[in-house]
């Protein structure tokens, strides 16, 4: 074996997130360790795995069979790893195998054989294989027609579960209770899959998972088991999960472990897999639900929960090692044939952003909708649970029973939304019995009683007229052991959080740092994996003796903050390590590389709340703290940390405040003579007309003054829209005033990402948006080098950056968002932290902004002279957003000032068109063959046909509706006009439409309109969907100019000049 191809998972999307950056990175490290050359295909440019120094060659290309085949040929690979890139990589691998590509090219599939993967993916085969060894599966029948589905459901008995095979994140699975429901769901599911499963409904059974590892010599272990607090019926990715299981006795634990080992041996898995069970709460009956023959979200969680390096070991096994021959890199005393013993409990909670989607159904169930997750470690369930709720960064200080108002709390318990856990607390607070809540929610009474103990303490704080001054150390300790934050206690006792902290410390109540050593202290082990708990009276570890740097990670992935900030944090750690510092990381997201065991010297798996960060800093006493490389979450506590005397590295807290506070920032821009859109603070709904008039009329942008990823932002075109947004914004943020600013139409949006040092610009890159202002920058398509800016304009932008850097004495990373219209440049926003586009621009241009920023933060004078070489790059790199609208049932897919994309990709090309087309193909865009549907509500359709009439002449059908249809016909195109949603649906079913361009007008959507239906159908049928006229225009142009034959298949090193890459490699290995 000389050259191994690793398939990545592409853009982050719902059901497939950052966990595969972790697993892929580990696989590449193993290949490197073994001296085997590696080739990686992954268009997700914000990942660590695509960094220089991990894979020998990186291809930023779609993980699609035709691209993979070309790379295999070009690179002469003799083996491939399919199980480290999630379902996307697995499906791509299966397609290639089926097409005989691997056989033809003599490429060996390492690890689990393809036939075994098929056994686990094809549900009918799976059930049959398990029947051979008398392992129980849910009664299930595979059907390929609606009539057969109805018949099967009749035999099994309603309610039944309908599922698709070959799915990630349980897409297309539902519980149906009646024949009509069965017909509806089956017909929709069968539209996207050749076969569906009708299964026995196990709703309310316990849901348990085991992570299993087996080597080719048949040694087999289960690394971890996990129990879902939300029982069967809620997808495990949507459930609150604990590890290890809490309600299984030893007999059950071992029964399921035995079945796991027996099953995995029988199937012949070689490497890592996950097996899911339903366990009857009233007997020992179990059913195997599924086996995932690959690294998964659960395996990432299990790896972080136990400290067992699952992905690393799986890669070693794939290369032929046996478990007892692999040393355990974490403990350094055991081998990989080892099952961790935990002396703590882990609690995972998903993070949802369903509220960001218009008309989305917020019920959670058997399909995945969550966009990220957090993992908390504690020594009691309430401690871990309350930590996790804070980690979600949704504003909760813990399990506050009055956080939400539920109009129908019984319904919330029965048919959950992401808020159910708070409803449980509220119900208990109202006096519901555990039995009653169990009857509604099916949550095991064990967990409910544990939650009840939290609510009981809440009562204690509320009722007894307690005062902070007289709080006993006994009660304080009990509260902290049950996971209460100082803030929660402060709220209840009407005391300031700082006073609570002071009192607590005076009482001698503090958390202790404990090691995760995989063996519960049975014998000494070296580990650097830590968490804190109040159920303790000693620290496992003292402050480092060397100069140390603490990097705050980005916390849970969510819309607006994901893998790109993990890349920044990891790069910061690597750079600091390289400079000789002992590195510490605080993060709470199990899907990240920053929480890998080998990234930093001390990993503290903890909350990124002010309270916990201060606790850690007081104990570990780092020489410096980096808050600007983990996105907005750490940035939000920067000022408070500085006020508490923490040595924050980089730009001062006063400067940060000046950039974040709308008033101060605006005054600053005026002072520096930098243009900005007109703005005004909202004084009330009644004055809205006057306020808007003073800005020069509609449209206006409405938002609270502190924002991230456009939360509660909106563009209003009318007075009624403005009123609606104002209401929404003020309920979301009472603390910060709502700001109205002139929304500049037809303006180009530009970003500048840079590093300042001593107020000087040491590195800077300008990129240009394809979409005009109004589309959130996270949803925009970015091009570098800029495609339409003049050198003079770029220099003016630079001048603005220099002015700001000088005035604010910027030290470290920053990002400026700008508008350009009629050659006038205005600044919208300044972020004194690394931005989302840092990894993209660093990899596109070879100027590693995150690395440079960290060096500056650590006081290293930049020796490099960064000329703006990116202005003359002989190629173009385009970053495109990945949307997951298909996952969020009912949501209206549209772009606005609120970010909606869940991930991103970037591709290189000789031309902008080529790079753009490749990037969009990497997000699932397919070259249209049959027909396109065009509807442009604001009358901009001419942008499509004025320049590129040839596109419409490419031989496919043109469908349209309303005004756009008329316009196109007048322009001389032959158009089929669509009048109804039903007509549209038929066209989708017949696969007559394979590209939808639907550009809605305004920001408030109406679910009954044809445009909504069309966008929704595209999302549901997985048809290419473009929502912005400028994106559509560029794409159409690219389709015309770049036939498939003109798409270059070339590695990163082909584009980027070697010396730059080498320089980076030296620093990132």
């Amino acid at each position: 074996m000389k050259r191994v191809l690793v398939l990545g998972s592409g853009a982050l999307q719902i059901g497939q997130a950052g966990e595969f950056d972790y697993s892929g990175s580990q696989a590449l490290k193993v290949l490197r360790e073994e001296g085997i050359a590696s080739v990686l295909i992954n268009p997700n440019i914000a990942t660590i795995q695509t960094d220089q120094g991990l894979a020998d060659k990186v291809y930023f290309l779609p993980v699609e069979p035709q691209f993979v085949e070309e790379v295999l040929k070009l690179e002469n690979c003799d083996a491939v790893l399919l199980s480290f890139g999630g379902q996307s990589a697995l499906n791509c691998g299966l397609a290639l195998e089926e097409a005989g590509v691997f056989a033809r090219l003599g490429v060996r599939v390492l690890g689990t054989p393809v036939s075994t993967i098929r056994d686990t993916e094809d549900r009918a085969r799976f059930v049959e294989r398990l029947r051979e060894i008398n392992v129980d599966t849910a009664r299930s029948m595979a059907v390929s027609s609606v009539e057969d589905a109805v018949r099967a459901a009749g035999i099994i008995g309603y309610p039944v579960m309908l599922r698709c095979g070959f799915s990630l994140g349980g897409k297309g699975s539902s519980i149906v209770r009646t024949e009509q429901e069965c017909r509806d769901v089956a017909s929709s599911a069968l539209s996207g899959a050749p076969q569906i499963l009708v299964e026995e409904c196990l709703s309310g059974w316990k849901e348990i998972e085991y992570e299993v590892v087996r080597d080719a010599a048949d040694n087999c272990i289960t690394v971890c088991n996990m129990e879902n607090v939300d029982p069967m019926g809620i997808h495990t990715g949507e459930s609150i999960v604990v590890a290890p299981s809490q309600t299984l006795d030893d007999t059950e634990y071992q029964l399921l472990r035995d079945v796991a080992i027996k099953t995995i041996r029988h199937l012949g898995i070689i490497g890592e897999c996950n097996i899911q069970y339903a366990l009857d709460p009233h007997s020992r009956a179990y059913r195997v639900i599924e086996v995932n023959a690959r690294l998964s979200r659960s395996s990432a969680l299990a790896s972080k929960a136990t400290g067992y390096p699952l992905a690393y070991v799986a890669a070693k096994i794939a290369l032929g090692y046996d478990l007892p021959d692999i040393p355990n890199n974490i403990t350094q005393v055991t081998t990989a044939f080892f099952e961790p013993a935990l002396d703590y409990i882990v609690c995972k909670i998903p993070r949802w952003d369903i509220g960001k989607f218009l008309h989305a159904d917020d019920k959670i169930g058997s399909e995945m909708k969550s966009v990220g997750e957090v993992m908390a470690i504690g020594r009691s369930f309430p401690e871990a649970l309350q930590k996790a709720l804070r980690m979600l960064d949704i504003g909760a200080a813990g399990l506050e029973s009055h956080r939400y108002n539920f109009s129908d709390i019984d319904d919330e318990l029965r048919r959950p939304t992401p808020k159910r856990i708070f409803a449980v607390a509220q119900a208990l607070h109202k006096g519901y019995t555990v039995e009653h809540i169990h009857a509604l929610s099916r949550i095991d009474p064990f967990f409910l009683y544990e939650i009840a103990s939290v609510v009981a303490l809440e009562h204690t704080l509320e009722d007894s007229g307690l005062k902070l001054d007289t709080l006993s150390s006994e009660l304080m300790r009990t509260l902290k052991r049950k996971g209460f934050s100082d803030k929660q206690i402060g709220h209840k006792l009407h005391s300031h959080v700082d006073a609570v902290r002071e009192k607590r410390k005076a009482l001698g109540v503090r958390p202790y740092l404990k090691q995760i050593d995989t063996l519960a202290a049975e014998f000494p082990a070296k580990t650097n994996f830590l968490y804190s708990t109040y159920h303790a009276d000693a620290d496992d570890i003292q402050a480092p003796t060397r100069p140390s740097v603490l990097v705050l990670g980005s916390g849970c992935y969510r819309i607006g903050s994901s893998v790109e900030f993990d890349w920044c944090a990891v790069t910061a750690v690597q750079t600091a390590r390289k400079l000789g510092y002992e590195t510490l990381v605080i993060n709470c997201n199990p899907e990240t590389v920053s929480t890998d065991y080998d990234v930093c010297d001390r990993l503290i798996f903890e909350e990124l709340t002010l309270e916990r960060v201060l606790d850690v800093i007081e104990q570990q006493k780092p020489s410096g703290v980096i808050v600007s490389m983990g996105g907005q979450t750490p940035n939000n506590i920067a000022i408070q940390l500085a006020n508490a005397g923490v040595p924050i590295l980089g730009t001062s807290a006063e400067s940060i405040d000046m950039a974040e506070d709308r008033h101060k920032f605006s005054a600053l821009l005026d002072e520096l003579g930098i243009g900005q859109p007109k703005w005004k603070e909202a004084t009330g709904i009644n004055d809205i007309g006057k306020t808007v008039a003073s800005l020069g009329g509609f449209p206006v942008l409405i938002r609270p003054s502190y924002v991230l990823s456009g939360a509660a932002m909106g563009v209003a075109y009318t007075k009624s829209e403005a009123e609606a947004f104002l209401k929404q914004a003020s309920t979301l943020s009472q603390e910060h005033p709502v700001v109205l600013s002139k929304f500049e139409e037809n303006a180009q949006e530009i970003e500048l990402d840079a590093v300042g040092s001593g107020g000087q610009l040491v590195a800077w890159v300008v990129s240009e948006h394809v979409e005009q202002a109004g589309v959130h920058s996270g949803d925009a398509t970015l091009m570098v080098p800029p495609q339409s800016l003049s050198v003079a304009q770029i220099m003016r932008i630079r001048e603005i950056a220099e002015k700001l850097a000088r005035r604010l004495k910027i030290e470290g990373p920053f990002n400026i968002q700008l508008l350009l219209r009629d050659d006038v440049i205005k600044v919208i926003e300044l972020n004194l932290r690394a931005s989302r586009s840092f990894p993209f621009l660093s990899k596109a241009t070879g100027v590693n902004l995150a690395q440079e920023a960290t060096r500056v933060l650590l006081g290293v004078k930049s020796t490099q002279d960064y000329v703006a070489n990116w202005m003359h790059l002989p190629y173009v790199v385009v970053k495109a957003p990945q949307f997951s609208f298909g996952r969020i049932k009912g949501a209206d897919p549209r772009l606005g000032v609120e970010m909606a994309s869940t991930g991103e990709v970037a591709c290189f090309g000789k031309s902008c068109e080529e790079a753009l087309l490749k990037a969009y193909m990497a997000t699932g865009f397919k070259r249209p063959r049959n027909g396109i549907f065009v509807s442009v509500e604001n009358g901009d359709a001419k942008l499509l046909y004025r320049d590129i009439a040839t596109f419409f002449g490419m031989g496919f059908g043109i469908f349209s509706a309303g005004q756009t249809a008329t316009e196109l016909r007048q322009a001389g195109f032959s158009v089929t006009e669509i009048a109804s949603a039903n007509q549209l649906r038929e066209l989708f079913q017949a696969k007559s439409i394979d590209w939808v361009i639907s550009v809605p007008h305004g920001t408030l959507s109406t679910p009954n309109r044809l445009g909504y239906h069309c966008r929704r159908l595209a999302a549901d049928f997985g048809v290419s969907l473009t929502l912005n006229i400028h994106t559509a225009q560029r794409l159409a142009k690219a389709l015309v100019l770049v036939p498939n034959s003109a798409i270059t298949i070339a590695p990163w090193s082909h584009y980027l000049p070697a010396p730059i890459l080498d320089e980076r490699a030296e620093l990132t290995v």
Partner: protein, 374 residues
């Protein structure tokens, strides 16, 4: 909230370290050797394991009592430990087999417990000490007197009073009971064996003529104290009857064979002990609780190492080179712990049943009769 919440208690170690906690279960004061186990499930099995007779058991897993306590049978007739020390106690367990909670069970069994203890730091201390004595004091009781058990004679406390038989199969196994966990007997009977379970301090040799195999079980205490029993095992070994030892039984068998046993730097006290079969190279996960190890560098000529521990490379089993005599340090009967090595019962029974039918049988009976007569 439980009514015993406010009742504080202490664990006092003989090195004068004190761990504070809350008392539950019985309010008796007890003393004993303080040992730990890192299993995450199986507290019912652990508490009723006679190997823990006389000891105060510390559990590292922080949530204990979650699934309550089922109706018997357990691993023996009653709770065996002197006391229990844990981080958190579940007072509202839930499980379809649960009859009562851990507090009630301990209370009814007159066994004291202590919760609210940082058992991780306690375990770190215990592992470095090897063995350390300690006592649980509850404020509700007289803090002066602590009951303890004479450990040098602990074996006599776990021996039954009479011989018991169970199972109806053709293959008959003599279990020499030094505090056997019930699951050893269950494992044999489930596989179709008939079990004669004789307390180690009765005349178990008198059953030898009627059995096809001998099983030496787990048990409490230092095997090196059981000199008389080692002698008796040594006599029996020469008869050629298939013999299998587990844990304490492994130590007995090894000592009887002439091997030596030493105290370990760190005992093996968990249900996640990886062992490797040196013949097949296959690895298994096992349940263990021991602080002494057979020195595999000093095995008698006719014995060979069978299993080793993958963590510390210590001996985990030996077997005779020609005779059907073998033993393992770990617990193939699990309870609690993984069942990976349950096949050893199959293997043992297969040998016992095969030899019964072989030509060896007549010779063996002659030899046996000779021994019984002389």
């Amino acid at each position: 909230m439980h009514d015993f919440q406010t009742s504080t208690g202490l664990l006092h170690l003989t090195n004068d370290t004190v761990y504070k906690g809350y008392s539950f279960g019985s309010s008796r004061n007890v003393a004993g050797e303080v040992v730990f186990n890192t299993a995450m499930t199986g507290y019912v099995e652990t508490l009723t394991d006679p190997s823990y007779k006389g000891q105060i058991v510390v559990l590292t897993y922080p949530l204990v009592g979650n699934y309550g306590v089922p109706k018997p049978p357990f691993e023996s007739a009653a709770i065996q430990v002197q006391g229990l020390v844990i981080p958190n106690l579940s007072d509202n367990p839930n499980h379809h087999l649960s009859l009562h909670n851990l507090h009630q069970w301990l209370l009814g069994s007159h066994v004291p417990g202590l919760y609210g203890v940082d058992t991780r730091s306690l375990t770190q201390l215990l592992r470095e000490h090897g063995t350390i004595e300690g006592s649980i004091h509850t404020t509700a009781a007289n803090a002066e007197l602590s009951d303890s058990i004479p450990m040098h004679d602990v074996l006599s406390l776990v021996a039954g009073e009479r011989v018991m038989r169970c199972g109806t199969g053709n293959t008959r196994i003599l279990v020499v009971d030094t505090g056997a966990k019930y699951n050893i007997m269950r494992s044999l009977v489930r596989r179709g064996a008939q079990v004669v379970c004789a307390p180690w301090n009765l005349d178990w040799e008198s059953y030898l003529p009627e059995v096809d195999g001998i099983l030496l079980t787990n048990g409490p205490g230092d095997p090196r104290d059981a000199t008389a029993l080692v002698q008796r095992v040594r006599h029996t070994m020469s008869l050629g009857i298939p013999m299998f030892g587990i844990c304490f039984g492994h130590q007995l068998l090894a000592l009887a064979a002439g091997a030596s046993s030493t105290k370990m730097r760190y005992g093996n006290r968990s249900v996640n002990q990886p062992v490797q079969d040196l013949m097949t190279k296959r690895c298994y996960m096992t349940s263990q609780n021991h602080g002494y190890v057979v020195d595999s560098t000093q095995l008698p000529e006719d014995f060979t190492s069978w299993f080793i521990n993958l963590n510390d490379r210590s001996n985990e089993g030996i077997r005779h080179k020609t005779l059907p005599i073998s033993s393992v340090q770990f617990h193939p009967e699990a309870a609690p712990g993984p069942n990976d090595t349950a096949f050893l019962f199959d293997d043992f029974l297969a040998v016992a049943s095969r030899l019964k039918r072989s030509h060896l049988r007549s010779n063996r009976i002659d030899a046996l009769q000779e021994m019984v007569l002389t």
